[in-house]
Every structure is written in C-alpha cells, then in structure tokens.
Symmetry: C2
Subunit: 610 residues, 2 copies
Amino acid sequence: MQTAGEKLTALRRLMKERDIDLYIVPSSDPHLSEYIPDYWRIIPWLTGFTGSAGTVFITDIFAGLWTDSRYFIQAVNQLKDSGIILMNSVLSTRNDYTDWISLTLNSGDKLALDGRIFSVELTRKIENSLADKKVLFDFNCDLISGLWVDRPSLPFSLAFDHSVMFSGKERSVKMAEVREQMKRSGAEYHFLTSPDDIMWLLNIRGNDLKYSPLLISYALVGEEQILLFIEESKIPLKLASEFDRLGIVMLPYEETAGMLSTLISGSSVLINPVTTSTTLYDSFPPGMKIIEDLTIPARLKAIKNSTEIENISGAMIKDGVALTKFFFWLESNTDKADLSELILQEKLNAFRSEGENYLGPSFSAIVAYKENGALPHYSVTAESDKIIGKAEILLIDSGGQYLDGTTDITRTVSMGRQSEQQKRDFTLVLKGTINLALARFPAGTKGYQLDLLARKALWENGLNYGHGTGHGVGFCLNVHEGPQSIGPSPGTESRTVIEPGMLISDEPAIYRKGEYGIRIENLILCIEDTETEFGKFHKFQTVSLCYIDKSLIDISLLDKREIGWLNSYHTEVYEKLSPSLNPDEKKWLKSKTSSITPPSPLKGGTSRNI
Amino acid sequence: MQTAGEKLTALRRLMKERDIDLYIVPSSDPHLSEYIPDYWRIIPWLTGFTGSAGTVFITDIFAGLWTDSRYFIQAVNQLKDSGIILMNSVLSTRNDYTDWISLTLNSGDKLALDGRIFSVELTRKIENSLADKKVLFDFNCDLISGLWVDRPSLPFSLAFDHSVMFSGKERSVKMAEVREQMKRSGAEYHFLTSPDDIMWLLNIRGNDLKYSPLLISYALVGEEQILLFIEESKIPLKLASEFDRLGIVMLPYEETAGMLSTLISGSSVLINPVTTSTTLYDSFPPGMKIIEDLTIPARLKAIKNSTEIENISGAMIKDGVALTKFFFWLESNTDKADLSELILQEKLNAFRSEGENYLGPSFSAIVAYKENGALPHYSVTAESDKIIGKAEILLIDSGGQYLDGTTDITRTVSMGRQSEQQKRDFTLVLKGTINLALARFPAGTKGYQLDLLARKALWENGLNYGHGTGHGVGFCLNVHEGPQSIGPSPGTESRTVIEPGMLISDEPAIYRKGEYGIRIENLILCIEDTETEFGKFHKFQTVSLCYIDKSLIDISLLDKREIGWLNSYHTEVYEKLSPSLNPDEKKWLKSKTSSITPPSPLKGGTSRNI
C-alpha cells in the first residue's frame, strides 16, 4: 500500500506532465450528494483524512486540506506525516477557499479539476474569483483514476417499487405534474441529477448508499419520454416493463454526457446548478437555453401529501416504540460495566429493526456520553468510544429509514446526577424546542424568520449554538432534504417559504466544551392554522414521539404555555406508544410521561411576582 | 399654466426629435435622498401626482406611473384626466418595473433618461433586464429643463458649525478616521454623494431641505485634501477659513462631474453605487479603480459616540416634555369642536419649538384619527383633514430635529371609548414594542433576526403589519438613516449587524382598514450586555420618553415581564419629564404613568391555570 506521501508524489508527477499548477480534489460525487459511495471517497484514499467534508489543494510545493470546524481535531491527527496541512487553522476563513486560490494563482498558471464532481455553481465561483487574472482552466482533468489501483467499484443494488400505498401518488401522476410545471417554466427538458428527485418521481427505491435508499442515476424528463440513466440490471423485469409502458427509457449511466450532447441546440432545459456537475453542464450543446432553478421534484416532494403524512404518523409510532424500548432497556442495564457508545448505537438499531418496513438507520447515529456530546457532529469510533457511566449526560441523535417515512430525533438524558447548570441548560434548550413547535406565522414566512424562536431563551441567558435550527426531511429518502430549513442566515434554504406539508427538524442545543452537550430534536410538520383579514396563517404539529427526560427540567424556568405543551405532548406520547409496549415498559413510560405542575404560588413559587 | 396633457405632448415632441422610444422620469434628486428639493420634483410638475415615490414611463402612445401601495388611492385621484395611468394596479408587481421595460422594448429601440438622477445601481438593473436585446441607451438625456418654465430654483441656506459639544468629535478627527479606513480599503479617494455623510464628516449643518438639516453638496475625500462641491456663498467666512486650514477646498457644485473626470486614471475611488448617480459615475476617467461599498461615514455615523448618546438622552427629555404638554393640552381641549388633524399637527410642532436647540420637525408628522390611522404613511392634507372626535383612536407619529439629536415617536391614544378589539389590538402591538426592546442577542446578530420579536404576539393572533419594524436614525441628520434596520426581509439594511451605539426605531403596528390604526414606536439604542463563554451579547435601551395610554391596555394579555417593563418605563418617563412640567401637567402625568398590576390570582385572574 502506498503512503500518502507516495500518492502525492505520483500525483505531482502527473500534474507536471500536464503543466498543472493547482489541482483540486473535493469530497463529492457526480450527484453532489450528502452521502457518497466509496468509489468517490478520494480524499480518504489520498490523504488519510476520513471526515465527510473537505477539499484538498495541491501545488508543486504545497498540499493543504480545507474542512470545517467539526473536523479540525480529527484532521490534525489523521494528516500527521501525510505532507498535507490543515488550512483552516492557517487562514481564518470559513471554508471559503476561493480567496486563497485567487491569492495563490498568477496569470498564466493552470488550475485543473475533475469537472464530473464539481457543481457548475462551484466552478463558476472559482472562475469568478480569478476573473481579473489570465488563469488557464482544465475542468476535465481526472488524475486520480490512473493512480488509485484498488479503487472500490460503484455500488450495485436492485431497484424496488415504492408502493403507492406509501407514496400516495402514482408515478404517472407525478410525471404529469412535473411536465405541467415544466411547461410553465418554459422548459422542454428537465435534467435531474439528484437520485432522490428521481426515486420520488418514479416511485422506486434502492440500496446503493448507506443511509439513503437511493439508486445512483440521472434522468432527463422530456415531454413524451423520460431517459433514465442507470445500470440497467438494477431494474427488475417487472419494473422495467412498467417503465416501458410509461415511456421511461433506460440508458447506460455512463452515456449521460454523450446523450445530453445530442439534444437539439435551441431547445430549453431546466437544471439546478448546485447539483449539476460541470462536466454534464458542459455537455449540453451550444445554443441550448438553460434555465437554472431548484428542480421541480425538489419543490414537489418537500410538500408531503396526505397519504405520506398519515404514513409518517405511523412511522413515528414505530420509531418512538423503538426508542422507548431502548431507553427502558438502558435504564434497566446501567449496572453493566461494558455499556459503551458503540454498543448503544448497535442496540438502538436492533430495536428499530423490529419495526415493520424498517430499512436501516437514516444516518450514523450519534451516541455521545459526557464531553463527547459537546461535539455537535460527533460520530463514535472504536478510538473515541466511551463507557457509559451512571452520572452524566447522554445525548442520542438517531433516525431510521422506513418505507413509510424517515425519522430523525434527538433525546438527551441524565444517567444519574443532574447539576443545577445542566438542568438550567436543558430547560432553556427545551424552551427553544417548544417555542418553535408552538409558532404561528403568516403564509409566506421563511425559515430564517422563525429561527429566533428556538434561540430566544438561550440568548437571554448568554447562551447560543453554532448550527442551524432545522433541516427539511425526506419521505423514505434523505434525512437532510431541503429546500426548506430554519436557520439564522438567509441562505437559499432558509429563504424557502415554509408551507403546509413540509417536514422539518426543530433542534436547538447547548454545547459546553469538555463537559456535555444537550440537544432536543423533534420533527415538526407545517399545517394550516387560520385565515383572518390579515391573510392565511400556519403552524406546526410535532410528529416525533418520545418522552423528554423530566429529571433534567427546572420547572421554575417554564411558563404556563410551555408546561401545557410538555404535558399534552407527554400524554400523546403515552397514548400512542403504550399499546405496543409490554407491561413493564408501559408502567415505566407512564411515569416518564406523567404531568409536571408548576410550584404552588401559595408556597412562594419563583415564577410569579405578586 | 400648461396642463399635464400639454406637457406630455411637448415631451413627446422632444422624444420624437431624438428618436427616443421610452423616457423614464424618477422621483429622485442627484443625491438619491429621501427628501428632495422642489427643483427636482419633476413628477408633480409633469403629472399632478404629489406622492413622494414613483416613476413615470412615457412612450409615443403610452404614459404610466409606478408607485407603491400607500399612494394608490391618491394617484388614481391626482392622475384623473392627465393622460397618465397608474401601472401597479394593472400589473401585479411590487414597484419593480424592470420586467415591464423588458417586455415593452424591442431590439433597436432607444431608452433615454437623465442619468443625473438615477443611481448607477438602478441603471445597471435596467441594462441587465435588457441584456438579451439590442436596446440603445441614452443616459444623458434631460428633456425636462427645456420644458419646465417656472421651475423652482435650487435651495439656498447658510452652513453653520455643528459644535463638538453636540457631535462629540472634531472634524479633523473624523477626517483622520475616514482616511485611515480608506487606506484599509485600498481607496485613494472616497467620493461622498449623500449630504448627511458630508455634514457628519465636516461637523456642519444647513437648511436646504425641509426635514433634514442638510446642505446640498458633494465631497471628494483625498489623502491630503477634501474637495467640497457646494455653492460657495453657503459657507460663512469663519467656517471657510477653518476649512482652509484643514485642507478642505471649496469648488462650485456644478463642477463636480468635470472635476471627477480629471482624476488620474488608475487611481482608486470608493463609492456607494446606491447613492451615486449614473452621470457622476460615468465621469470617472476610464481605468479608474472603482471600489463599491457603503460609504465610510455611513458606517461610522451609525455608531453614536458617547457625547452623542448623552445628547440624545437630553433631546429625548425635551421631546417627551413637548409630547406630554401636547397630550395634556389635547385632553383638556377635546370639547373644542374645531380640533382637527391639521390643527394638532401645528400645535405639536409649537410645543416642540419651545425646546432648546429645536430646528423643526424631522418629517411630516402623521396625525391620523380613526380610519385615517389605517393608512401607514398617511399625511394629512386640507382635503383629508378630520375633526378629532371624542371616541375613537388617534395615532400620532412625529419627530423633531434638535442640534443634540433627532427624534421619532409614535403614540396611539384613545379619545374616549375603547372597544374590546381595540384594547386587544393595542396590547398585542405593545407586546411587540416591549419584546423587541427586551431583546438580548449575541454580537453579530442582524436586523432581520430580531424582527420576529415585534411580530410574535400579533402572529399568534392572526394579525400582522405590512412594513418593516425599525429603521436607523441619524444624529441631527436624517430621521431614516441606515445602514441598520429591523425587518422581515434580509435586504442590505436588515443584513447589517446591530452594534452597540446604533439607534433604531421599534414600531410594530396593526392597521384595520376603514377602522383605525395602532402603532407604538420608541427609539431603542443598542448597548453592551454581557460576555460569556458563548461570546459577547448585546441588548437595547429604550430612549424615547412618553407615556403609553393605559386605557387601551388589556392587562390580562401581558405577562409578568411585560408588566415589569411597562411599570419601570413609566416610572422613568415620570422621573425624567416631570421636572419640566407645571403642577397640573405633573399631576396628570403621574396618573398616566401609575403602575398597573395584574388581576389577583385569588380573584380568578385570567392569566393563570392553577
């Protein structure tokens, strides 16, 4: 096996042969997906760094990695002796490396990259940052394939029909809806690059990726036909003949670019520049009218239909039952010395597996004890694995993929003692979770407008968290699936109007470095509320079902409305989950979900001033 | 006097001579200011429409006005028989006319406008909207001067020194600060087009405009000199010699463009494209390095220094005393049959005039009785003037310019009866005013992040208001003065970080069409709060001083914290204002500011559930 240093030397040799001054390697695949197949995990192979996000820059005398703050410590360790340095610790920019590129390159220099795994949006940004220099670009430069001898193959899994019982809408109906919207956008073609868009449109699923039930594919939707670019043997005969009937034509995945280049110049195509690779974008013939926007499936699938909503309610019960059984098991087994984060992660998945139509975890569950919880994106490894003690705080963020929905939930529980600070922190986070869940807002409100609701109680106490508050969630698709989100910056996602039918997470937090992390996350569904002379108003319905650890609540910090929410939520949790529990579990959940009451005013409670 | 029709005919004759297919007339002046001199009020002269915002489009067969919703009714009335139609009622776009232009013009057509009164940002937008057509542009086209016979002259007023006792900082110090920041931005020159920037920098004021104490001028700040483009006789000898000593060179206002064209090509200049006219922008020699950003004075003057903050406190007392005397007088005179909105407007200004260092109103005061209050930007005229009755709601939004600060305050009072709906509406608006005032937020928070605080109580009750929540306020300068603002959209202004020293308005509202309007506005000053392991936090201090009408409050809707705020605010109002009141006024204010207490729990108050 080659060392990172040897690989770098080989790569630089190729760069020299081609007169390349800067070569860029991203952590992305040709679909710009969140979870990428091993085939495309070039950075771990090249550098040893295994974080999920990063970009490597190589010149003849320098090699550096940009990543974000959650991976700084890991990167420093993994890059040791690789000859590659961590760049964010050198420059204090926030993962924005275009400034660095424009400082580094001079007129006449040549920048090369593999345009198959760079979005056209990103290469444009790179070009713009170099607009005032005469830099040469080679966006068709794959230097890796020739060097990576033992490269994993692309994943293979079989497609299966995602029944209309789950999806609530026939594929033919979805196809008609998409085509109607294409007409309105003036698009003769709609090129889909995100597998989730394609799975949704065709009512199929697969198992090509670890956490999302997707098949690697592209699709070109035309007025009469859909060209589906996919390894043909992935589609079973029965599906294939159904596809045939609907005008869905299968073509080899590798022929996507070639096919795009044969489109009639002057025709119009709708694409999303954030998820379309530079190579595929450049495949369109000159004179093609390219309309850039979110894809139509992305907008349509974000609004769950009534069948999906009903299915989600059912999935939430299964998921809540698994969590309840898990936490009951955990409390009954705390005396075992060998309970560790890794063991809990497996055990939780085992409980979920008992649920009907379970496909697997929707992401790598975070099971983080004590100070490990202070790392927002902590992922337990054999090295970091912690024995679960009987005193401190345990944070578990996990989710499942079911045929009837995707879940994502975080609970923070005390394993024994609760300090005053822990209770205060937990209660302030809980206030955030509750107040966002209780939001009522006019139609047209965007995600960034609601972010404050989750932070207000924290801000008032000099606390905050460094990530967004909520992400969109797919339906038996990606656990992180926009376009909607709730966060402090008005980026593309949190600028999306929150509409009835949208599912979104509600997850404020506190991270105390070296001490513990607290996060309370539920999924909330936007529903209609009321209509007045001031217009339509919407609200949320909390759909995740699992008790919230009362031992960590300081009741004096909650107001009447918040207490009301908690008690009625706990009543609902018990009513919906208890039918699937055994008597011991039931009794235990009953006490976990019993009502809380504010301190009596006659005894001098702290929440009143008269 | 020519009719609108005759003027239009004459204008079309000129358009024909020059082959112009579309001529655009804006409601702006060469400084892109909010309040513009009569000399530049072309639209009222041309069309009869007197609203402060609008754009007129003229082709050979069509003439249309775009304006915003607050002026729709007025425009329909004033445009009657003018041959000009109101366009926003035809197209349903929000004052964005570039779409219309690009639909209307064809390749080969010629679009003309007077680039002296169009920002370079706006002409760029127009050019971009026509990018795919070969339209000819003439941005140096003044067709009005030749037609407007009795055009008013440009205003003339004398400059006066704005003492360092008020401004807190010598002009020489400000000049050094600006030059230091110019160096950091890499700008050899800084071209200032906004009179408020220039007044602030040079510590002078004047009286060229109705509501802002400004002198019409431009300034080019260089490393050694400042070229001040102004009618020279506006500067008294003593100031002129002080200017001379500091390297401030006066040049005729009309020579600005000519002077800019003589700058050395290749040198760098910092400008704000939003306030720089197309003509002046185009005057820079080719090869000039133009840096575009907010101006340095705009950023610096938004953060009030400690002297300014102390002065503002004093101005608020004078302003509050005037308002208190006014409302006392009003309550003592409600039996007079002839009290009308216009009379109240004058009377209020008379009370303000008694204050030391008062210069005049900071904008045209809104005095709106009953349904007039439902028009957010209502301005009383002889025609709309309403007799003040003894029952309904009266909204008064007014402010003053003092040498020691600029004020802006809205109070809504009941003239007699209060319906349940009015009390509920008033209290929900008050909750908004209070909750924004009570905000605590981390350093780096932007205006759009705080907007929700003012709306939350309204949204929860199916209510809302259609304007922003807060605007920046100048110091003896413009009453609307950014860059900071608080509003629901993350535009340039509400994307500005709210920093300690910034003064901003806090003005949620409810408008019930045909019934009444309620708005409660205070100015709030951002100050430092605390620093924790999560960073620095800021908060606001309410600086406006005037009682809030308790007869309109439904106490059961206020929580403990809100009641606490109101009582302590009223205590402060009384303590600070009463020393300047006569015994009758004092007694009256005492009762207006007495504490409110929530209903007793033992008697079954509505705000508790136990």
